[in-house]
Symmetry: C2
């Protein structure tokens, strides 16, 4: 009998990455710290969900939130070391998409 068990760490990792938007947020933050509003515009996510995702990414130790008390207030989100170390994952997805995903395609 095949009693293969999926690695629990892998499962934890993929449950993070397979949440809608989290991959795109991390991918986008690989370009450097960015503001809330900018993220909504570039990614095409609503404030409601971006807020939720950033909180859970912060809780997961992937993202940090930095407040600059300018006017109007500037808040930047950036990847932690843990977050940056997802770059090889994003690169692998990027590579695969270049080879296997046709460019056209609307939906």
């Amino acid at each position: 009998m095949d009693t293969t068990i999926i690695c629990p760490r892998f499962e934890t990792a993929i449950s993070l990455l397979s949440q809608r938007w989290t991959g795109l947020i991390i991918y986008q933050l690989l370009n450097g710290p960015q503001r809330f509003r900018h993220l909504t515009e570039v990614i095409g996510i609503s404030g409601r969900l971006l807020s939720e995702r950033l909180k859970s990414l912060e809780a997961a130790g992937v993202v940090t939130r930095k407040v600059y008390p300018e006017t109007p207030v500037r808040i930047e989100y950036e990847l932690t070391e843990k977050g940056f170390s997802l770059k090889p994952v994003m690169d692998a997805i990027q590579d695969w998409s270049q080879e296997w995903v046709e460019p056209v395609n609307a939906k």
Copy 2:
């Protein structure tokens, strides 16, 4: 003004991978062709969702369905070349999880 645009191929790729269960299904199928029932047991997914995911993975050209008219009928799902070429992605997630995810953790 920063008019960065996220690569559409990357977006397509990640919209596939960020569907719940698809990552685990692909990861599991990297071990070779497997039957429907076996997948439900190993992954812990319901028949309803597994069926739906396998159909969309087939439509995306990542998985093929093979029917062996034995008794009871044996149907095996296996990765296509496109599917197997996601191995570097899965490996990268695996590597990251080994380094950054603590093993304990229930939910």
